[in-house]
Symmetry: C2
Subunit: 340 residues, 2 copies
């Protein structure tokens, strides 16, 4: 089944989870990209109703999200957790709106396209009311892999991540700040947003553990990469860790190819890729770093070099603002493509 | 040529670089391990001469290091940088002392054994006056790989590191503290010990860049692993990064084997390995973390699981106090083995 309604050129946009880290960024990105909305409706739980949020210079009042909230809405951007997305899916679709969902709720469902506009825009053509926004760590990796795949077919990918606090939401970012302050002052602290101390620490655990002792975050990076890139059997190994960084994720990625590829070819392909910026100048200590890339829109790549441990190998480092391209920006870019 | 002098059972020990982060730890470890030194002589540059340092409850006065400092010395523990090691090598060996060098100066020289006592103690038999202590990131990896190799031969290793500030010395640890304080207070700061901001950041660059765009740290992890493990052609890919952590390094390691190995077999082999502690209890969020392991002596391993991207693959996470087992402790353990 595919969607047969057409969108108005000035759609009504609902933002579900408008007071969260990604929700706030949805409002900022809609304004930054001059998204042609006729109206923007910020929605949140009852306890946030009545709060004011800004979209550019416009102050908006947060409304309580109920099944009735979606009447007259054309596009609903969701970032309020998987359970909330599941709870409101029917109401959104029944109201005739398209749900662009940032949670993991529907990503692996067969009739839900999982889209990074630079990688698989063609998958927007067959949605049936719900489009899923991939996991942030996956987005940055596939943007780079899609560019490299134009040079040579990919055989196997091994990645280790350095993920920012923002991936766990706005309270987690605050916890990193507050806990670091407490640590430096020699004061006691209690972890809430994370399983353990995050200040001056690394936690090798993101999302819940699965039966095979991997984490759900690691599993997402494998299955989502396969779905987005259209390679159901692609060999991917992922190791995820949380580092004391605020809002940009980083990843080291080793790619083994089926055919020869030089670092120069890789660099050229990455430079030419959409939403990719290459910063790779070892002679001048030039490489992307998470603290310096907050608020940016692209996937930054550096440390591009030969991996001599396989016949045809390239390894590289990439960094992306987790809240923007990793979440809000990618979702709004999906909405832009829907408008055509 | 091999060394034909025997060591007294209560040797005179010189500590070169006694005021540095590792030098201080040498003194602490000699005391902790009740090393049977008849005398400990702390040495440093002229500007530190006269300073007091503690070895257990004993206060020692730092002496200026000159070629004459090594007369009557049996074992000289060096951690004062590669140039200082090169400068004093002849004086140490001529004085009849054995140099155990923590720098990278001689590690890859053919007549210098590179030793992790748990992995290649047999290489202590053919030294000719100089024994090299490996790079910290290499030590932790080979301690784990040597245990796993007892189950199945290793085909390829891919690692990404999460390295602490301490690897860049005591001033670097202080810089992480001071810069984090300044950052939180909104005050300006200037990086000195690192190429860039380290507070709330990740720097994908440790040691100098080489011609192939890898870093010397990455190169060390490859060539030192091969030398220590006695596999000159072992396939190793290494990606190194500095994280805002004080003194323990972490690594994710993906190992591809030549033959079947289950996570249970890997866990058993790692648990049985010397200087290895397995903390791997996903059900209770049990895994090693760098902030919680400062001052410990072992290599901690967790997140042991199947890597489904190859026929016979295991991936795991490991953490080690970079100053202790990564430097001072390993060197003193070498000295212990020399005493027999």
């Amino acid at each position: 089944m595919s969607w047969n309604k057409s969108l108005p050129s000035n759609p009504v946009v609902a933002v579900a989870g408008a007071t969260g880290a990604v929700g706030q960024e949805f409002l900022k990105v809609l304004d930054d990209l001059k998204f042609p909305a006729s109206r923007i409706i910020p929605l949140a739980s009852a306890k946030s109703a009545g709060k004011k949020v800004m979209c550019g210079d416009t102050e908006l009042t947060v409304e309580e999200m109920t099944p009735e909230s979606f009447k007259g809405v054309d596009i609903a951007l969701f970032s309020a957790g998987a359970n909330v997305s599941r709870m409101f899916r029917e109401a959104v679709v029944d109201a005739g709106a398209i749900m662009i969902d940032n949670s993991s709720a529907f990503r692996m469902e067969e009739d839900v396209p999982l889209v990074v506009p630079e990688v698989n825009p063609q998958d927007l053509e067959w949605h049936s009311g719900v489009i899923a926004n991939p996991n942030c760590s996956t987005i940055m990796m596939v943007v780079a892999l899609a560019a490299l795949e134009k040079v040579a077919p990919i055989k196997r990918v091994v990645t280790s991540t350095y993920q920012a606090a923002s991936g766990a939401g706005a309270p987690a970012m605050q916890e990193l700040y507050d806990q670091t302050r407490a640590y430096l002052a020699g004061e006691p602290f209690e972890p809430h947003a994370f399983t353990d101390q995050i200040a001056f620490n690394v936690i090798p655990h993101i999302d819940v553990f699965l039966e095979d002792a991997s984490t759900k975050e690691e599993w997402k990076m494998i299955v989502e990469t396969r779905k987005i890139m259209g390679h159901p059997d692609m060999k991917v190994a992922a190791n995820c860790a949380r580092v004391p960084v605020l809002r940009s994720h980083s990843e080291y990625i080793n790619v083994e190819f089926e055919a020869p590829i030089t670092p120069e070819q890789a660099r050229e392909a990455l430079s030419a890729g959409e939403s990719l910026v290459v910063n790779d100048d070892p002679a001048h200590n030039g490489y992307p770093m998470p603290a310096l890339l907050a608020g940016t829109n692209d996937v930054y790549v550096g440390r591009i070099r030969k991996d001599f441990s396989v016949d045809y190998g390239i390894s590289f480092w990439c960094v992306m603002d987790q809240i923007r391209k990793g979440a809000a920006l990618n979702a709004v870019q999906i909405a832009q493509r829907l408008l055509g």
